[in-house]
Amino acid sequence: MAGVVIKAESGSLAVDMTREFNATPAQLLRAWTDPDLLVQWLGPRRMVMKIQEYDVRHGGKWQYTHADEQGNEYGFQGVFHGEPSVEEGFTQTFEFDGAPGHVCLESLTFEEIAPGRTIIHTHSVYQSLADRDAMLESGMEYGVNEGYERLDELLVADKIG
């Protein structure tokens, strides 16, 4: 099965991501909207996820943190817009506590390509190119560090998109 495909065209405010699953849209919606399930998979394994709030309804707030082994906590929060459904997917705002006021609008939709096989599409729109670049590109052009190669993948996403 194909891995995550990220499309981040230069000059666009959007980042698109797709991933195929052996699951129905209903199962995937449940995995996303049931906090007891979400906490079991969202984020890297080395991080401990804690959900402070997850009110899945139109106007409902969500808030969670990821903590690493060093005790660094990364907090995120947002609001659901519209009632999440298999047909429509769901839309939410997304904000990293490290950059308050820089809000991203995310839409997630489910495309059933065969019985029990579904592609999740994530469409994220940033407020400004600067915001998106800060998220995806910052540091890349400076070439000061060897650790940036992984970000290269995002920057060359024009090719794979």
Partner: protein
């Protein structure tokens, strides 16, 4: 890195002029007039950007004779981009965990 520091680094990086200044400093230390040269901006305007960069820890400034040289500090940038560079890995790993969970749920729910 703490939230506050990450936040400061991010807001420093959010400006295209400051990113261009950092790119120039990656080539070597420079004084304010050298840094202002590529821009249609006054030296005081560039100095303001340098102050923001200095406060974020992305650069340090040192007086040498009459000039004040700016120097790129790689560490805060590395820390910030290390976090950012996990964007793909974050989702790869999350979705692999979701695969595992779905398999488990499917198994448990099978008649």
């Amino acid at each position: 890195m703490t939230h506050d520091r990450l936040s400061t680094v991010f807001s420093a990086l959010a400006d295209p002029t400051r990113r261009a200044i950092l790119a120039q400093l990656a080539e070597g230390d420079a004084n304010v007039s050298e840094l202002a040269a590529p821009f249609q901006m006054s030296q005081p305007a560039i100095s303001k950007h340098l102050k923001v960069l200095e406060q974020s820890g992305l650069i340090t400034r040192q007086r040498q004779a009459t000039a004040r040289l700016s120097h790129l500090e790689a560490e805060p940038l590395r820390e910030a981009t290390e976090w950012l560079s996990t964007y793909r890995e974050y989702w790869e790993e999350s979705y692999q965990r979701l695969d595992d969970l779905l398999q488990k749920l499917d198994h448990n729910e099978s008649p």
